[in-house]
Amino acid sequence: MWIWFHKLGSPPHFYRIAGRMTPWFAWIGGILIAAGVVGGLVFAPPDYQQGDGFRILYVHAPSAWMSLFTYIVMALAAAIGLVWRMKVAHAVAASCAPIGAAFTACALVTGAVWGQKMWGTWWVWDARLTSELILLFLYFGYMALRSAYDDQQRADRASAILALVGVVNVPIIHYSVVWWNTLHQAASVSKMARPSIAPEMLVPLILMFFGFNILFGAVLLTRVRGEVLLRERSADWIRAVLSKS
């Protein structure tokens, strides 16, 4: 069962597989996002309280979710890289950081715009917003730590520890609306209970979530392929790749 896992750890194998999967992820993700946008902007009915303003949800919520998901992927990859000493895993972690930072910035900006209309203020230091901002700083710190090291291996391993230390922020962000009385609203879609949101509104949202996730896969795989190339010295398989491209 672990054979596929260790096979993926082999850089040339990973490079080839990732190369074949990327177009699929890109197209499927793109179509899902397009469908979600159309559904969210056109077909979803206006909200009872917020009118058409709630449509920001369709870009804000997936971005926020992806900012967390990316960090989890990064931390997981970092742990695998540390434990199994896998270069590919470290490459995945390194690739996650800029993507995660972008999603976090997107969540913060779209949230601020939405908040300005809904709450009358574009920022408030409540638990969720503050911890999401900390997440952005964690991504930046991770990238800064990586670039501070010239030696790739030390950069990989030091930043892996940082990623694992910062993972404590992820449950804080997620449960902040449960643990504290925040201005940011609590979750309205839960896997357990029946969602408190109309189906015509829910379907585009789900499409966007999946679309973002799958597109993230395409972007991540592209970056990882680049990172893997940087980590391999003059291996023969690279020669073959270069002669093909």
């Binding site: 996002i33 946008v37 902007l41 056109v42 206006p46 917020q50 009118g51 058409d52 303003g53 449509r55 920001i56 870009v59 804000h60 971005s63 690739s95 800029p98 993507i99 972008a102 999603f103 910035a105 997107c106 900006v109 779209t110 715009v113 939405w114 300005q116 209309k117 597109l215 395409a218 972007v219 991540l220 592209t222 970056r223 392929r225 680049g226 990172e227 190339l229 940087l230 391999e232 010295r233 003059s234 690279i238 020669r239 790749v241 270069l242 491209s245």
Partner: protein, 56 residues
């Protein structure tokens, strides 16, 4: 619903459209930057191999 009404977004146009635009920008950057990074890595690998075994 006319195009006008659609763009007007029930009065929330100034909030909805910039949000979508920013998101599109971010995703566009994400894709472009990833492809650029891959391309640069390929070039760096090519250069490295050139130096080690010229003419390969």
């Amino acid at each position: 619903m006319t195009l006008r009404e659609f763009l007007y977004m029930g009065g929330y146009a100034a909030y909805v459209w910039p949000s979508y635009a920013f998101t599109a920008l971010v995703i566009g950057w994400m894709i472009a930057a990833a492809r650029r990074a891959h391309r640069n890595a390929l070039m760096a690998a090519r250069k490295r191999l050139e130096m080690e075994r010229p003419g390969s």
